[in-house]
């Protein structure tokens, strides 16, 4: 089953060690086939709203910086516990902050 992990941008400034640890973590998960896709997100996005026939585009930012989603990872695991375990390891690397995890259905 697939899970989408979304990271909220934390307060902590990334340092050299974080980059190195993350690179090793990403490499390991990619090699084992767990990590299907990952990427960082621009905290300033834009919003599109539809109402009837009308579609409105609004430029961001919309939330406080630390509430914005800063990155995502799409993982393929066997169980929810595996997803939790991976996210736990991830949180250890990035330090304080918050992740949202949703199971992905389909395609």
């Amino acid at each position: 089953m697939r899970y989408l992990m979304m990271q909220k941008a934390g307060d902590a400034e990334p340092d050299e060690k974080l980059y190195a640890d993350m690179a090793a973590f990403v490499e390991e998960l990619t090699a084992s086939g767990v990590l299907l896709a990952t990427g960082g997100l621009d905290p300033v996005g834009f919003k599109m709203t539809s109402a009837g026939d009308e579609i409105t585009v609004t430029d961001g930012p919309f939330t406080e910086a630390k509430e914005a989603i800063g990155g995502f990872a799409l993982i393929e695991v066997r169980s929810k516990e595996e997803a939790i375990e991976l996210c736990r390891r991830f949180r250890r690397i990035v330090g304080d902050g918050e992740s949202l995890i949703h199971q992905v259905y389909g395609p």
Binding site: A31, L36, E85
Partner: protein, 653 residues
């Protein structure tokens, strides 16, 4: 709040390969390595709830297991000197996992054991999970894994991994196909096998990045897996590749497959079977399928893997690239291949090509034949519907299946069963609805050669007799013209019978065989004779329904030995207390029971090598077999059949 067993299980699945692989390096025994790792898991279950989950659970498990291994080795005292070094070894090297894979996929193991053991120790699945995936009992998997570990330990394979990458690839692809072949909704668990195989493949690609075939296999699996959602319809029926809804293909996996293909190309070297199959899979993802390229890829593949299935696929590709006739020509060679005899896709493909050539009548025959052979109900219905939709004039004559049923109907049950064995097999290969008139004697001979390539002449003749009987009944006797009975090997002649195989037959046996031959009576009737029924002077019994001649007459008094009543032929021993015989079968003078048919048959077979029936029918023998034949040689008589129609009740017990 943490669910510790579930967390430990998740960690185990992620880390088991590295842990067991690292331990294998220390203990050189897959079974022992796994036990140590399991011990560490138990320790984790005990300690984590108190201490919390460690930062790096995998390393924690590894360290714990390694300590135990070292303790173990210390205790064994055989490698005491080494133990301190072992404890200080650096973190496990990546090739530990590769080494573990080479070990669990070692060619000394049978294929299914390799798959089970790999899933157990490399993928970290429990025996119950593996059993569900392979649709067998958990016990079977446990035993299979245990036997595999034993074999590995005995062969010393853990010390010398085969290093054969092809063997590992084969196991991974086997696991993938096991899951991929399962299509129905109830088999979702089996589909997980595909993901396990993908994981193993990706892991392998990381460990052996220079091997083009590894990347080829990964690419092949990624691309095949990308279609998993699109390859079956709502009712579970298979959807052919070119009719699938491409929107349901998983683009992510397709891209991963492409990336693996690029890595395979970078690795270089001549394209192996997996790279070629992956290249074919890649071609199929294009919007407009390049059949010319696919057929040339299949041609290369056939050079590496000259199997009939590859040839069949190539024929399909060639038919798309160069026209149906070209494909059909390629298929002709397969027709006589015994490996394809029961494979429904061959007639299925032929039917397809014939439709495209406008030969509807032949196409219908092939599709119906394919339907008869198909195992899957959804597939069978699909083929039947296609066959029925063809516009074919109906005056084709009587179809084979119903004709056979009609023929067998009025026969005696035993005959119908015997002939049915032959005819149903022929129907299966020729097609249920194939008109009898459209069969040719060449086709029939071909079917016979496929079905019964290496049978004894006697069996062959039985099948030939059945088909001849049928064709004669059907008014087409010429159909069986190409099928000739085969000469039997020299049967038992006088010479062979004159020298009994075993010991010299006892008096009782000699009398029995003599009496059988001379009287021609049924075996059951002869065994049922009682002493008081014999008329020795007249050489007859039971109102002269059993009559014998001088051979028997000379021996009888000795056998009777003064008895006045009770069974003539007696068993060697008294009956046991558990099975009291009927009063009529018990000799009042000796307390022994009547010789049973089974025992008589056994003795005869053992002493002469022939059945009672054969002994009785060897009329020529009676004059030669001096030990029990009449001195005047007059024992040659007309024989009546005492065949197996002997009613059960007539067999004395």
């Amino acid at each position: 709040m943490t669910n510790f067993p579930a967390t430990v299980g998740a960690v185990w699945k992620q880390e088991s390969a590295r842990i067991v692989g690292g331990l294998l390096r220390l203990v050189h025994d897959v079974g022992r390595a796994e036990e140590l790792a399991q011990d560490a898991l138990v320790a984790a279950l005990e300690q984590w709830p108190a201490t919390g989950i460690p930062d790096n659970p995998g390393a924690w498990l590894m360290t714990t297991a390694r300590r135990r291994a070292v303790d173990d080795i210390r205790r064994a005292r055989t490698r005491e000197r080494l133990a301190p070094d072992l404890a200080r070894r650096p973190e496990p090297a990546e090739d530990d996992v590769l080494r573990l894979m080479f070990t669990s996929c070692h060619p000394v193991l049978p294929a299914e054991a390799r798959a089970a053991l790999t899933l157990r120790v490399v993928a970290g699945l429990s025996p119950a999970e593996i059993a569900r995936a392979f649709l067998v009992g958990e016990q079977v998997i446990t035993q299979r894994i245990a036997a595999a570990k034993r074999t590995l330990a005995e062969s010393g394979a853990a010390y010398e991994p085969s290093g054969q990458l092809s063997s590992v690839l084969e196991v991974v692809y086997l696991i993938f196909n096991e899951g991929y072949a399962a299509t129905s909704g109830a088999d979702l668990i089996r589909a997980d096998l595909c993901l396990e195989a993908l994981r193993l493949g990706r892991m392998l690609a990381k460990l052996a990045p220079a091997q083009a075939e590894v990347h080829g296999l990964v690419a092949l699996m990624e691309i095949q897996q990308s279609r998993s959602a699109a390859r079956t319809g709502p009712a579970g029926e298979p959807i052919p590749l070119h009719e699938q809804n491409r929107g349901r293909w998983d683009q992510l996996l397709i891209r991963r497959g492409f990336a693996a293909m690029l890595r395979a190309r970078e690795a270089g070297g001549p394209a192996g079977p997996y790279v070629l199959q992956a290249a074919i899979a890649v071609c199929h993802t294009a919007d407009k399928t390049d059949w010319v390229r696919i057929s040339s890829l299949y041609e290369s593949l056939e050079r590496l893997l000259p199997t009939p299935v590859v040839r069949l696929n190539r024929a399909v590709a060639v038919a798309f690239a160069y026209g149906p006739q070209a494909g059909l020509d390629l298929l002709d060679e397969l027709h006589a291949d015994p490996r394809m005899a029961g494979y429904h896709l061959l007639p299925g493909v032929r039917g397809d090509l014939l439709i495209r050539l406008g030969r509807a009548a032949e196409a219908r025959g092939e599709l119906e034949r394919a339907a008869t052979l198909a195992h899957n109900t959804a597939e069978r219905d699909f083929l039947r519907r296609r066959a029925a939709a063809l516009d074919v004039p109906e005056d084709q004559g009587r179809p084979l299946g119903p004709a056979v049923a009609e023929y067998l109907g009025p026969l005696r049950p035993a005959t119908a069963r015997a002939y049915g064995q032959t005819l149903h097999r022929v129907v299966r290969l020729a097609g249920d609805r194939t008109p009898v008139a459209s069969l040719t004697s060449e086709r029939l001979a071909e079917i016979f050669a496929l079905c019964w390539p290496e049978v004894s002449p006697r069996t062959w003749n039985r099948h030939v007799a059945a088909i001849r009987s049928f064709t004669t009944w059907a008014g087409e006797p010429s159909l069986a013209a190409a099928l000739q009975p085969r000469p039997l090997p020299a049967t038992l002649g006088a010479a062979s019978l004159s020298e009994p195989v075993g010991a010299v037959p006892a008096l009782r046996e000699r009398v029995l065989w003599c009496l059988l031959r001379e009287s021609g009576a049924k075996v059951g009737a002869v065994l049922a004779l009682n002493v008081e029924e014999l008329n020795l002077d007249d050489r007859s019994a039971r109102d002269a329904t059993i009559v014998w001649r001088s051979g028997t007459a000379a021996l009888l008094p000795e056998l009777i030995a003064g008895r006045t009543r009770g069974p003539l032929f007696l068993a060697g021993r008294r009956p046991g207390p558990g099975r009291p015989p009927a009063a009529a079968d018990l000799c009042p003078e000796t307390g022994r029971r009547r010789l049973s048919y089974e025992r008589a048959a056994y003795l005869c077979k053992r002493l002469t090598g022939h059945t009672l029936l054969q002994v009785q029918r060897q009329s020529a023998v009676s004059s030669d077999w001096s030990r029990c034949s009449a001195a005047d040689g007059s024992a040659t008589i007309e024989l009546t059949a005492i065949d197996a129609a002997l009613p059960d009740g007539a067999i004395p017990t």
